[in-house]
Subunit: 343 residues, 4 copies
């Protein structure tokens, strides 16, 4: 069967790159025609990722060695900071999905403030569409450049945005207590990500300073400030976000659940759980699903939501493919029908 | 060297029992003279816990087979519900430290409401002293019956109580997002605690219904209500509690840190971390330490505290031994000098 | 798209059942029309396995409630012992793949000896084909009843059989030191499979008594005896088998590698690794691949082989689907194109 | 209480250094007076190891800044290669225990062959005593320089040496299939030791090339060659070695067990398990114990032994302290009474 789309992956030697290749392998309409991996250029991808052996994938190259003639889509999995110019160099005829943080913040002043350097491509930034798939489909379908959301923001925004839009919860006092597996740090070789340092331990990090904070606040809108506390959990994949919200007016927990059920009723990857059920990251591991529970609090006027995603799939590469499917008018679930690998 | 105290452990076949035996093995003044383990009665403890082989410990018996003549202290590690009558049967001359929840709630109506049955020993309950060591030393020293605190309450109360007492934080809006290792469930054989179900997964549980909630609220006092959300983390030991509080009046984060530093300045097991440092459960694993960080939030008027303990040690058996040392006038650190086993 | 085959899964509430459903979900030609789960009958599969929510799968039933009219294939994931009669009750027109051990041993005396009771279906046993896919394709294609191999035997036989057939290794002194993840025990609720008992620990078990031993010996043939030592490793999935063999005559390590490369050159799921590379179970996790390394020993006359599979996929449900594809003349890789979920 | 011995730890920033400090903290007769940590010089040890906070330990220095006047013992935890000259610079009056591999191989040609460079201190090498505690006590007591054994050798030699000495097993065909936790690699920051690379995976490594091989062969003696295959297991601590041996003459498994029971009958840290029991690394985690099982094989003439140790304790720092106790005539168990931290 002739495949329709030719795709290139920049930064294929990172975990999000590898996850893209895993998912694209089962996508019936995408052929991967080139891979970049700066420090690994020249290698077979199987030397970098043994689980990708024998798939006929192209060797890793430097970006400048890759021709984009005839290419339909570039997935950009480069570290932030290096991404802006790489994306700018992609011809306008090639659609681009950027998995870094470089095009997520609409306000380049905010970008500079949180990332410590000026944005080098403000015009491109202005064209970028924030790719939170389920809640931004129209814009994504027409986009040339999609800024794929961060993993923590995905886990927090999917439950929160519909409730804020419906006026059911307050803009004040939103607390996001998020717990992530270690792949959130990518394949970065650093002491604090050694097995021996992470195993059998949990810790908070980046309190009040994590760069996903302004991204969450931008998408929630209205100038609100959230309290966002990420934690590192001894597991490879998964994000669980526990959200504490104040109910507005007469709103109750059932209103929240129904709003989420309505919003996501036709979405293939969204599971709003029945009352009494709580999600675990195990039930979405390796899949593009997001599971959300809405819970009663003992004190009137409060509610707790819990969401679970796989940070590398729904929180990154799976969502990127979902966005690509929209951008090219393909069936939304193509390449994404993997169920969670449990146990 | 002749040891001063004769101790009996009821319920030695559970994890808190085993942890007591591990710690008491290095206590210079305690001799363990009897062990109970109902379903395992007759066995050598090494058949139940191979790591306790060769220590010359007595065989497991049924409680009714154990004589308390000449015994100084009973550690009671029985499941809640079965504990009240067992403790009532201990002669008044024998000091008792109960590691179950059975004597923690002063109000027996609250007990009945959360535990689903009436308290059978209301008079004993009235004598029980809540054993949160650092904050209740005088009463513990004089106690005949100590109700050893729950693991989650220990992790939440040690940072919160001094701040509430000092009037630095509000009674409203206290959120305790707590993450526990699997030993919190004891050695209970149930599907949801199988390796394959817990590994590589995190989940919330018992939202708004966990039985440690009334215990926390009782000790914080003033009729306040907390939002307490426990989570199950794929690790054996450790609790990390992330606490969200509203500052009162002009109080700031430095005030909080100084109050905690002052409160715990002479405490051998309390570490109030310097600014910028965050605790991990790894740094207290297997030890009786509690590490606490006080963090600035982006929004004025809020602060975040993070505490780490080992649920089986500081959150249970270690704290019990600390209490015993106080009750018998021994040096506080006896049997508790184990540092964390890291990595 | 109309699907060709109607499948029934007996014992869908176990891990191999769940793994079958995960894989069949992406099989373009199989519709699952009924599920059995004795103790869970009446439940939605999502109550038993939340990761299987929303797939439109039938509710769990008791086997006797399931009609096999129009059914093409039954996958039988029942515990051994209960399987023989269940399989006997399947009409002859329905092909059956049994994932238990019940039809693997050709000699029913050996079965009785290792499983402690007589085989109740010796005639059926005589018709069963051992489903070690790559090495028994012709027979599997024609089979009505396939006895799907055990996980340990799969990991050991794929490297060993071609070498024995080629006369390159001795029948004496074969040692199989195998290491398995905990899913090898299924979803059995027992103390020794609790997270807290397995985590941060490795142990050997079943030395000289594991029931996969006669299965391995049967398939290696020639009356040989192997030394087989299984170990339990703190991970959910995966088997790594380290094989120690004596070279025969002038055979050397290169001869071994070339024989395996030749044997498996057209096999889509077999990776014979280049010299110097060693497999990890991570590189096959969740996939149907088997990776094998052939290694030089320091002493002339010896060689070491290492094989890695996912015990639930290649070692069980994936291999079962591979066998089904053969039995029905479908493309071999259908439903099995999942790459390993790494990391 | 005045402590008798002044100790210095070179290389305190590695895991074996940290483990020494953990154990020495409970040693009644040792005061740690200086710590070196080249790249971390100037730091408080709590910055490098938060679990060592608040113990009053000296700051990290460079070795050349440390005075050894009045020092009784130096523990040298430096990387191999850098150790020889550091040990040579220690005054002859100061006893030294080297935890690296630098003084373990008596034949400096073998050293050069396996470590790739000439030994710079052949005279010192000639004085070094191999510190396999239980089997070399007399020499250790008199030693000035002890070469502390490697972790794998410790786990293999303790069961094997008494059996070889007793003539019960053959020098041929000894196979050591060993499985280690990740701390065996120290705190080395490398991609293959990242949490995400190690977790949920097992692999063999260094087949036929691991540097502990000549050490094992030297101590077994008689010019024999062993087959030694190390594996990396997803856990922090522990080594399990599965040993395959040929019985000699009429020897049987009971003879083996009795020989080990006799050899180790008075040893406080050796557990020869009763028939039918198999050791796990969990039961020795964080302790100085070694547990050994002797198992029947199905084929006459063979036996299987399984040993479990904690690689950082019995396999390194615990054994070093045991050796120190012998060298200074202290009670053997001082500082080593920690039981395993289970679970």
């Amino acid at each position: 069967m002739k495949k329709i789309l030719k795709a290139v992956v920049y930064g294929a030697s990172g975990y999000t790159g590898a996850e893209l290749l895993r998912l694209l392998h089962t996508h019936p309409q995408v052929e991967v025609v080139a891979l970049s991996g700066e420090s690994q250029a020249g290698k077979d991808i199987a030397e970098v990722y043994p689980h990708l052996r024998g798939l006929g994938l192209p060797r890793l190259k430097k970006i400048e060695e890759i021709s984009l003639d005839g290419v339909d889509v570039v997935f950009c999995c480069l570290p932030h900071g290096t991404t802006q110019d790489a994306v700018a160099a992609v011809p306008k005829s090639v659609k681009t999905i950027d998995l870094s943080a470089d095009f997520r913040l609409k306000d380049i002043t905010t970008y500079e403030q949180w990332y410590g350097k000026p944005h080098s491509q403000p015009e491109l930034q202005a064209q970028a569409v924030y790719g939170l798939t389920e809640l931004n489909k129209d814009a994504i379908r027409k986009a040339r450049l999609v800024a794929n959301p961060g993993c923590y923001p995905t886990s927090a925004l999917l439950p929160l945005i519909p409730l804020l839009r419906a006026g059911l919860i307050s803009k004040d006092n939103i607390i996001i207590d998020a717990k992530s597996g270690v792949t959130g740090a990518g394949r970065k070789v650093a002491q604090n990500f050694l097995y021996t340092e992470v195993n059998e331990s949990i810790m908070a990090y980046g309190i009040a300073t994590h760069r996903h904070t302004p991204e969450i606040e931008q998408e929630l809108g209205g100038g609100l400030l959230v309290t966002f506390t990420p934690h590192l959990v001894p597991m490879s994949r998964g994000i669980l976000s526990t959200l504490y919200v104040d109910l507005k007016g007469a709103a109750n927990v059932e209103d929240l659940r129904h709003t989420l059920l309505d919003t996501y009723q036709n979405e293939p990857f969204m599971h709003i759980l029945p009352e009494g059920e709580l999600p675990s990251t195990a039930q979405v591991r390796g899949s593009n699903y997001c599971a959300i529970a809405v819970c009663r609090e003992r004190r009137t006027g409060k509610a707790i939501l819990v969401s679970a995603i796989d940070n590398l799939t729904k929180g990154s590469s799976g969502q990127a493919i979902h966005n690509m499917n929209l951008m090219f008018g393909l069936e939304e679930t193509m390449g994404l029908q993997h169920l969670a690998v449990f146990p």
